[in-house]
């Protein structure tokens, strides 16, 4: 597995299932493999950034570059693990961890004011000025009991986002 053969053995499927903590059923893993092979046009065993961006629905997403950083060059096992936060059995904790990772671009476990500002910039583009963005972010941070200098960790995110249900699920088409 990981090479360009397009047949998955039962052993491969179980290995992937274990790696993603049973986030997907075996049938879903087979479908995801078909999709992975479809995206991996040059058969290199991983999907490159170019190949992801050739999906127009992905390319128009404001957070495509951030997601790309996380998913570029993964082999199939890691690809399924990446998607496990969007699986039907993903816990709230897993989803919040995923969101945290999107913000924490340098991976040091702390989200700074600038990290949040960067994501806000991706989401709003040129339609809010940099100054306004800083203003808005500072205001809502202070109202939530943080400051501009606060470094948010995962437990902060859990506290902020955990109160209401997070809808973050993707359906894997199974034919």
């Amino acid at each position: 597995m990981g090479n360009s053969s397009s047949m998955l053995t039962q052993y491969d499927i179980e290995e992937v299932q274990q790696h993603c903590n049973n986030a997907f059923s075996q049938q879903e893993i087979v479908s995801l493999y078909k999709r992975f092979c479809q995206l991996d046009r040059n058969g290199g065993g991983f999907v490159s950034a170019e190949e992801f961006l050739s999906v127009p629905e992905f390319a128009v997403n404001p957070l495509s570059q951030r997601v790309l950083r996380m998913v570029d060059g993964l082999n199939f096992k890691e690809f399924v693990a990446f998607l496990s936060a969007f699986g039907p059995r993903a816990t709230l904790q897993q989803k919040i961890e995923f969101i945290f990772k999107v913000y924490d671009s340098d991976g040091n476990g702390k989200v700074t004011f600038n990290d949040m500002l960067d994501v806000l910039h991706d989401l709003t583009g040129q339609f809010i000025s940099e100054k306004q963005r800083k203003q808005v972010l500072t205001q809502v941070l202070e109202e939530a009991g943080y400051t501009k200098e606060s470094l948010l960790v995962l437990s902060d995110f859990v506290k902020i986002l955990g109160s209401s249900g997070l809808k973050m699920e993707v359906e894997v088409p199974v034919d």
């Binding site: 404001p62 995110f157 088409p173």
Partner: protein, 376 residues
């Protein structure tokens, strides 16, 4: 074949501002924001809807589905059927294929032995020459169709030669053109191909009237639009056949129609083509195979079965834009041929989407943030 290795690059000239709204077609998950209520930190940090859209696009997207080849189901699975299938393969490759190749060769000989003299000797008498050339092109196309044992059922009234009308059809393979051409010698607008196809294009197709375009040239669009207009206004030009999708789609979906054919001030006659996958999938996946290989695949299958419907001619309605007109005709064709519509431009095969789509999302989110900031 020609542009499969073209690098993806942003193309602002292709995708106009005034396109139908993609958001109307795309699955709408939870909206990016709650429409009202005071803005909180939670609302800014909760990027789950956008991430869900991104992951959804990774897992499945309507654009890639349009270009997926769907070969017919294999049926050679047991002791009785497998030998049957094997003998079928032998028959197709060793008997059918040589016979077909022979038929095609004979057809070419007949065609060339009439076409070359007619083309050169009747140089003075244009209208007679054109008439003969039309008949001969229809003839060679019939030979082509015979070489795949094409079983084509035409429905609807045969196209008549009238000025100020163009024909539009959905596009699955270059054989669409041949199948339609055997009935009526259309003039066609095509991407110039390299190799033997290009040679045919520049010699024989010139005689029925053809317009070339070059996908990779930005300025090309205006030049082509002008040529289209000139051709459609001419009284004794062959009727124009246009494939507004601009690329081959797998005959289960239809991508957006380019508006060029719909702003010529002509009547638009829709033609729907549906292939029956029972023996072979006629979709030409230009990323996967060259046209020659595609033809060989057709010539070694049992038959190419398809239906062609000539549908009711449509005119631009008062107050309708060219884009709305194009969408309306696309709807007519898609319904008739059983195709699902997707909101993507076929040229996204070769280039990235315009940044306008992302900007629209960013704008709506930005506006909601600013609005909710004001609320108490």
């Amino acid at each position: 074949m020609s542009s499969s290795e073209a690098k993806l690059k942003p193309s602002s000239s292709e995708l106009d501002l005034d396109r139908p709204n993609i958001e109307d077609y795309l699955p709408s998950g939870a909206s990016i924001h709650e429409p009202h209520g005071k803005l909180r930190l939670r609302d800014l940090l909760d990027i789950s809807p956008i991430l869900t859209e991104a992951a959804g696009a990774i897992v499945d997207d309507s654009f890639t589905r349009c270009f997926k080849s769907n070969p017919p189901e294999p049926w050679n699975w047991n002791v009785y059927l497998f030998p049957l299938w094997c003998s079928g393969v032998v028959f197709r490759y060793l008997i059918l294929f040589p016979v077909r190749a022979l038929v095609l060769t004979i057809g070419w000989i007949i065609f060339l032995s009439f076409f070359i003299p007619v083309h050169f000797l009747l140089k003075g008498n244009d209208s007679l020459r054109k008439k003969w050339e039309r008949v001969l092109v229809e003839l060679i196309c019939s030979f082509f169709v015979a070489s795949w044992t094409g079983v084509v059922k035409y429905h609807g009234p045969r196209p008549s030669m009238r000025p100020k009308q163009v024909f539009v059809a959905n596009h699955t393979s270059m054989i669409d053109f041949i199948i339609l051409e055997q009935m009526t010698a259309f003039a066609v607008i095509m991407q110039k191909h390299p190799g033997w196809v290009g040679l045919l294009q520049s010699t024989i197709l010139e005689s029925v009237g053809c317009i070339w375009f070059n996908r990779s040239e930005a300025k090309d669009r205006e030049i082509v639009a002008k040529k289209l207009r000139e051709h459609s206004q001419g009284a004794d030009n062959n009727p124009l056949l246009i494939f507004p999708e601009g690329t081959c789609v797998n005959n289960q979906y239809s991508v957006m129609f380019k508006k060029g054919a719909f702003e010529l001030g002509c009547t638009v006659c829709p033609v729907a083509i549906k292939y029956n996958k029972i023996f072979v999938d006629a979709f030409w996946n230009s990323r996967k195979q060259s046209f020659t290989v595609h033809l060989l695949q057709l010539m070694t299958s049992w038959a190419v079965v398809c239906d062609v419907w000539y549908l009711e001619p449509q005119n631009l309605r008062p107050g309708e834009t060219a884009i709305e007109f194009a969408e309306r005709v696309r709807d007519i064709i898609s319904v008739r041929a059983g195709l699902k519509k997707v909101p993507w431009d076929g040229y996204l095969k070769y280039s990235r989407p315009s940044p306008k789509h992302r900007e629209r999302k960013q704008q709506s989110f930005a506006e909601s943030v600013l609005r909710r900031l004001e609320e108490k």
